[in-house]
Homo-oligomer: 409 residues x 2
């Protein structure tokens, strides 16, 4: 199509090999938005009605008018100093002492994972990874082609100390892990931190859902437990804490941060420089107002109440329609229910297709497994849809399960 | 500092090797902002007074209030469909036929370069690179450790066809190249496009300064010349056109785009998915209003007139104070003058230090050379400072040159 008639056909240079390892499930789901009346239980999307649009619109106008140089110019690679200070202050305690030097502002939580990969991974570098694993984390490291060791934190024979030894870093989502929705308990938190300190391996604590507790009390962050080793000293330990404002304010801000030892922040800054130079001053200033002006605290009770009621609606519908085919635990926070098929031969990659024919979309377990082997479970989101749609989605899913089982027998 | 008293010292896993190859000049310059009364002629910064702050503040308020789902939610990885359509329409002509499928919205022009590197570079992959080269491009590919072939487009024996053959891609800044400020002429543009079509190698056309012409007419984009091979057909050729709104509207938007063949856009989309998932809907919607509502056209004449007068002030001061030590051409657009020392032994890395002691900051040529060898030239920015500061900066630079030369003899 692009050749002049007299030119020979030329082969274009090959794409990098990692593109052959990628999945297109996320994009399939985005395309699913085109199917009429499809009920999307697959994504990790907040309920749009909780976005404080009127407040953010007015904040945006004010911060641009008042701070034109900060909002419209280039800013420091590490982030606006005031926002870094606000983040450091938010996490600091008598035990955990943080300053601006411990904070990198990132363009979303995913960028935090991307720059950590750039800093720590050569091709084939080893990650000890909570399994099943957040798909976005696997995506963010794919282009560096790492090797994975599976941390099965629920298993009795899981030994973090031996899995951490020799790994570049360990990856965990202690609060309501994506995809399983599980809260990592206090004993395992202490084991993970001890393993990081004893082996020297960096320990990545990804915490997008830390604000979404429905019936449980908060447990200490891994970085707080790490700081207990030298309480009150400026933090220089092995934990990297990654957070986003996507779940508590709005994904459209694309604002997150990494909290870590200053030497790690300096290296991550060099990686961010070549990634997008700096994060938008507009969205950083909006985030600063949200942190300082109490917007998060103002909207949080409503968000938690809404999501709790939706979790309850989903789990009630599942108990009615799916109890004979799946097992699950009711999550005490986060955005997801993880359901495992009783029939070990049920293939949830195929269930996804039958589900979409029935007008419902869930996420199959294969995408949360670095080796793609786990085909027995599904992740169901309860935050995006109101209760009647959740119930109808579960009914459709049950229809798809029956069709799949009938076909098989 | 992070060890309990009973723990042995542990070595942390090593950072990836590319961090040993990075430079910290950009960060040194950002730190230079702390030196009182320093005149910064080093960066590539727009004049803050040209930012249309009042207009953008009001646009921001309106787009968030009117489009809360688009601005505050997750959006498509490729960018908002309306913005992709607006970009495609802006570049389309009778010859160059573009659709949404040819456009990826990126979080700044640098992100465009980063995702191109992720898609096309394995470690050691070859780039045929206009030399000297934009520092940000070298930074964006550093973590993939490429090998460089130098395209010296001014040299009589430069042979793009042989340099392109076997390279993953070629990189050029045809309009007022960073750092040299030179406009690549029509004959060389045709040669570059011919080399890309004949060898099959991808050809990256980075165009941040395309809107900043002071005395010259625009020349056709490389992607337009490529489209001439098959005029009016949907574009599927080897050119990737990268643009940013940083120079024409405001860097704080962090909005750019890549225009390329649909197969390339699809691969870049997978790389962007793992980089930041999607670009902020707030800044995308502001960019869409700037493109559709005529904001760029409204502010452009004032920006061009201001920068032209600053270029003239800088070049007049250089003629007065630096003519005996440096040679340069007056650039017909862009943001920079590139000056080469007559004394082939003058080391501009050292001149940078003497200059900072004298209260002025310029960029030494070593950072624009992938091998770091070129020490004979400097890049001087004329857009950030008003004429009196430009004149004073040149006086200080001349003082530093004299000090350096006196010290040597």
């Amino acid at each position: 199509m692009d050749r002049a008639p007299d030119e020979p056909a030329k082969t274009r240079p090959a794409f990098a090999r990692w593109l052959g390892t990628t999945n297109d499930v996320t994009r399939t789901f985005l395309a699913a938005g085109q199917i009429p009346d499809l009920i999307n239980l697959a994504g990790g999307l907040p309920a749009p009605e909780v976005y404080p649009a009127a407040e953010i619109a007015e904040i945006a106008r004010q911060v641009i008018a008042r701070h034109p140089a900060d909002t419209l110019g280039y800013g420091p690679i590490e982030g606006l100093p005031e926002l870094r200070d606000a983040v450091a202050e938010r996490y600091s305690s008598g035990t955990l002492k943080l300053s601006r030097a411990n904070v990198l502002i990132t363009t979303s939580g995913i960028q935090g994972l991307d720059v950590i990969g750039k800093v720590l991974l050569e091709e084939g570098g080893v990650i000890a990874c909570q399994c099943p694993t957040y798909l976005g984390a696997l995506d963010s490291w794919r282009s560096r082609m790492p090797a994975y060791r599976k941390l099965r934190l629920d298993s009795n024979d899981c030994d973090p100390h031996s899995l951490f030894a020799g790994a570049q870093f360990a990856y965990t989502v202690p609060n309501f892990s994506n995809p399983t929705g599980k809260l990592v308990g206090m004993a395992m938190r202490e084991t993970l931190v001890d393993a990081a300190h004893r082996t020297g391996t960096w320990l990545l604590e990804d915490d997008p859902y830390g604000g979404l507790h429905y019936d449980s009390e908060s447990l200490p962050h891994l970085i707080e437990l790490s700081a207990l080793r030298n309480p009150g000293a400026p933090y220089g330990g092995p934990v990297l804490h990654v957070r986003t404002l996507s779940k508590e304010v709005a994904p459209g801000l694309r604002i997150g941060w990494v909290i870590a030892a200053p030497e790690m922040i300096a290296a991550l800054t060099l990686a961010k420089q070549g990634s997008d130079m700096c994060t938008s001053g507009i969205t950083q200033r909006i985030a600063l107002e949200a942190l300082k002006g109490g917007l998060i605290e103002k909207i949080q009770p409503g968000v938690v109440a809404l999501y709790r009621s939706r979790r309850d609606a989903l789990c009630a519908a599942m108990a009615e329609h799916l109890a004979s085919d799946f097992d699950w635990e009711i999550p005490s926070g986060g955005m997801f229910v993880w359901a495992t098929a009783r029939d070990s031969l049920l293939n949830t990659d195929i269930l996804l297709k039958r589900g979409m024919e029935a007008g419902v979309c869930v996420t199959p377990s294969s995408v949360f497994d670095a080796s793609g082997e786990d085909r027995r479970a599904i992740r169901i989101n309860f935050t995006l849809n109101p209760p009647d749609r959740l119930r109808e989605g579960v009914r459709r899913l049950a229809t798809a399960v029956r069709a799949l089982q009938a076909n098989k027998s």
